[in-house]
Structures are given as structure tokens and as C-alpha cells.
Amino acid sequence: MVISIASGKGGTGKTLVATSLALALSGKSKVQLLDCDVEEPNAHIFLHSTINQSQPVFLPIPKVDETKCTYCGKCAEVCAYNAIAVVKEKVLIFPELCHGCGACSYLCPESAITEEGKEIGIVERGNSGNIDFIQGKLNIGEIAAPHLIKKVKRYIEPTSEVIIDVSPGTSCPVVEAVKDSDFCLLVTEPTPFGLNDLSLAVEVTRKLGIPCGVVINRDEAGDEKVERYCHEQDIPILLKIPLDREIAELYSKGIPLIEGIPAWRNSFLELFQEIQQNVSASQVAK
């Protein structure tokens, strides 16, 4: 089963939930944790994983052979991102705008364009105890997060329990990370910010047709509106984590919740069972 852990709003405790859930399950089944928050990957801080494989990820960027080029301008015409421009006797390439779609090299009538990989980040794989850990790290100044996320997801093994830590927000990197999961767990906090961003995240999961459930973190710090919203929308609240100084301290030191306070292990195992039930119920419904 693939469970993605998202939130809309940042800083609600996604990584806390992802790491504790992975650790709770790792005693019983094969577990993979994929950190797809490639702009700011943090799960490794909690898992103290040893990395034993590191793979650079490249985006194919056009390269023009000026000896073949006739400056016809076809490449600039077909590029949807204005990443290539032809001025008198010169072709200018703007790699930071290129999405690597390959149209220019394929359509160049003189076959003057080849592609050259530009490194946009790395995918690292290692382990933390029994957990197979994979993370993507986007290079500074790069924008192609979805491309990198795809590469991280290639490591998914269908026989494992797969947990995906997703970046905050609702746009393309989130969609790429959440897409094709069996269930999406949305971590929120009981404030108007949490509610606003939760409702957006719920819409993402609906658009993708993925069943979802909610974890409320820092319960009782704010108001009741998140709970009310979940009831109205018929979204199950699967776990509540209280606002608690000890939990905040553990987090600040990079200690997973179920290691700092082992009594939480059972709550995470129950959380997993509830997710399983929700997934089978939604499959029946389909």
C-alpha cells in the first residue's frame, strides 16, 4: 500500500507523522519511506539513515551544433517555454526555463540539436534500521521539482508498505508526489490557517480520486472548526496529537515521536489499521 502524507500548510507535522508511522510499521512489514519534499527534505534528520546510493538526476537541455545550424528559427518557434531564442546567426538557450520536453531537438530540420543532461538534484537511497529510505534533494536555484519527484517514486516496491512525505502546498510538486497513492493522510492544525489549507489539500485528493483522512496536530491549540469541517465533509479524523511541550521538544531535537514516547507506537499502528480499512472500504465503493 502507498500512503502519501501531505498537508497544504507547511509545518503542521507531516514529517513527524511520516517518520513515526514508518518506524511503527518497520517492526512488522517491509517499509519504504520516500521523502518527496525535495525542496526541503527533512525525514533523514529523524531517521538517521545511512545513505549508500546516490544518483544524480539530469534534465535534458538542448545543445546546438553551430556548424549544422542554419538559424531557421524552428526550435524557438516550437518551444512553449521561451527557453530557446534565435537571433541573427546565434542561438540562445536559457536552461533555467527549459522543461526538457525534447521538441526542439526532434523537430530541428538540420538535426543540429542534441541534448545534454543538466543536473537538477540527486536521489539518495539508504536505510534506517529496517526502513528502506529514499529521498530527493533539489539543487539550489532549480525549479524542476516534479521531475525529481518522479525519479524518487521509481524506487517504489509494490510489495512494501510505502510512505511518502510530500511538500506543502497544492500545486505541481504535491500532485506529482500524491498521484497514484492508495491513501492520502492530511496533517493539519486546528487554526483558521490549518483549516484553509486543509480544505485546499482535500480538493487536491478529490481531484486525483484518492481517499483521504486527517491527523490533527497540536490539538486544542486553536478552535473547533477543523473538526466541524471534517464532519461536514465526511472525512475521517484518524489521529489527534496534543499541543504538548515534550512532543515539541522531541521534534526540535529530531527525535521521532514513537522513539521519544514509546506509548505512541500503538496509536500509529492503529492509525495504519484505520487507513487499511478506509482503503478497502473505498475500493468496495468503487
Binding site: A80, K207, G254
Partner: protein, 285 residues
């Protein structure tokens, strides 16, 4: 006119509460919410929308079943895996037009889509430019650029001193778009190991684009050892720590009441945010 972008790398460090407080403290400013996928600033500033505009961007390919001869060329060349059984999945399509260019029978058209809205609003603290990106849409970078552009126009027209913008989390495309050419980046972090790790990455982005940077440590008393570590790190990097703000649940209470925290309470925290704003104003002179 100076533009201040408040960023954090990691989400949830208190960026938006600080921006809303600056809105209440600064004179002569326009506000911009550049966190277009999960915009929260409006919840604290209670804007009255004056102008609402559509954001059209991002083309999506569409295959005309009638014309398609099922040659599969488009499916083979699409690098984003967006075409299956002669149907384009609009969520995966990156709008590159490659398929449109190669289809031998012109069965494919590229369609513009409306992917969001942006607004110019009045608040009791001045004008606010904000936006809402459609769910699961791309091009948040372009929408951020549009929000900034319009905030700048307002600042120029009204001869305002500051543009204060609430930036997106992360270090990717919308962050880069919110940052380039700004006068100052204020990085709000928290003393957690995740916060420190993310701060280092966002500092690297600011440096990459040559933006002067200040750091604010929020909830500094949650872990004073980590706070020290951040201070040392900043010192080594030659970046000033402009404020250390204590943890106080009054921030959450203010959010629940829909107010900037400096308007809600007069405590220690409010004083710290006031002096942070003074610090920034001086740094920009």
C-alpha cells in the same frame, strides 16, 4: 521603494503572522501574498476585494477523437507520460506542445486554461495583492510574478515606501519567482533541526540570487541550544539575526481571532516584533 520578502524554507514557522504584524506596523506600504497555493494572509487582514482578475496560463493538449488515426506518435514522444489510449491527462500534461507539433493529421489542439484568480483588495492596513491558484495547477511561479508586478505598480502609483510580501515555503519555482530582485529577504526560522536544515537551504538560494538577507528566530525558547546553533551558523555566514521571538500561544489566539498578533496583544512578543520591524526599516535606509 523597497521590497521585503519574508521566507522560511520550512513551512509553519510563523511567517504569515509576522507579515501581518508588519502590515499593522509599517507606514506607507502595499502587501503582497506570494504564497499562492496556500494563501493565508487574507485570514488576518480581512480584505475587501476591489478587483478580481482571471489568471490564464498553461496550455493543455487535447486530442480530437474524430481526427485521430491512432498512430501513437504522440504517446511515444510525450516525455511526461501524459497521453494514454489517445487521451491526454490534463494533470500530467506540461503543455509543451510537442505532440501538437508532431501529430500527422492535426488531431491535437493546445487549449489555454484558466488556472487561478488574483485580486487587489483594500484592508485597514493598506492595499493587498493576493491570488488563488486553482487546485493542482502549475505555473505558480508565473502567478507569483504577477502578484509582485501588481504590488509594484501600486507602490509606484501611490509613491509608497515598502512592498511587504509573504513568500511561499520551500526553495523551488515560486520561491525563486518571489525573490528575484527584492531589496531584502527576511528568513523566519525556528530552533528545530528541521528548521535549521531548511534555513541553510533557503540562505543558499538568497545567496544564489544575490539578495541581502536577515534572519529571525521564532519560538527561540523551544530549544535554546538549537537557537545558539542558528546564531553561530548565521555569524559564520555573515548574516545578522535581527530578532529572537519567544513562543507564545497568543500567536494562535490572534489567528483564531483573525487579527495580526501585534493588534491582538501588547505583550513581550509584540514588542519583539515591533523592534524587528524597526531593525528592518533601518537596514533598508
Amino acid at each position: 521603494m523597497k521590497e521585503i520578502v519574508v521566507l522560511s524554507g520550512k513551512g509553519g514557522t510563523g511567517k504569515t503572522s509576522i507579515v501581518a504584524s508588519f502590515a499593522a506596523l509599517a507606514q506607507s506600504k502595499v502587501l503582497a501574498d506570494c504564497d499562492v497555493d496556500a494563501a493565508d494572509l487574507y485570514l488576518l487582514l480581512q480584505p475587501q476585494v476591489q478587483e478580481e482578475k482571471e489568471f490564464w496560463s498553461g496550455q493543455v493538449a487535447f486530442i480530437d477523437k474524430e481526427k485521430c488515426i491512432e498512430c501513437e506518435i504522440c504517446q511515444d514522444i510525450c516525455r511526461f507520460g501524459a497521453i494514454e489510449n489517445y487521451v491526454v491527462d490534463p494533470i500530467s500534461c506540461e503543455g509543451c506542445s510537442f505532440c501538437y507539433q508532431v501529430c500527422p493529421v492535426d488531431a491535437i489542439t493546445m487549449r489555454e486554461s484558466m488556472v487561478g484568480h488574483w485580486f487587489i483588495s483594500d484592508t485597514s492596513y493598506g492595499a493587498l495583492v493576493h491570488a488563488r491558484l486553482g487546485i493542482a495547477e502549475e505555473n505558480s511561479g508565473k502567478l507569483v510574478a504577477l502578484v509582485r508586478q501588481n504590488a509594484k505598480l501600486i507602490a509606484e502609483k501611490q509613491n509608497l515606501d515598502y512592498i511587504i510580501s509573504d513568500g511561499p515555503p520551500g526553495i523551488g519555482c515560486p520561491v525563486i519567482s518571489s525573490l528575484s530582485g527584492a531589496s531584502l529577504a527576511l528568513l523566519v526560522t525556528e530552533p528545530t533541526l528541521s528548521g535549521i536544515h531548511d534555513l541553510e537551504r533557503v540562505i543558499a538560494v538568497c545567496r544564489h540570487f544575490g539578495i541581502p538577507t536577515l534572519v529571525c528566530i521564532n519560538k527561540y525558547d523551544i530549544n535554546e541550544e538549537n537557537t545558539h546553533q542558528i546564531e553561530n551558523y548565521c555569524y559564520k555566514e555573515g548574516i545578522e539575526v535581527a530578532a529572537k521571538i519567544p513562543f507564545d500561544n497568543v500567536v494562535t489566539e490572534a489567528i483564531v481571532h483573525g487579527l495580526p498578533v501585534v493588534e491582538y496583544s501588547e505583550g513581550k512578543l509584540t514588542q519583539e516584533i515591533r523592534s524587528l520591524w524597526q531593525y528592518i526599516a533601518c537596514a533598508l535606509e
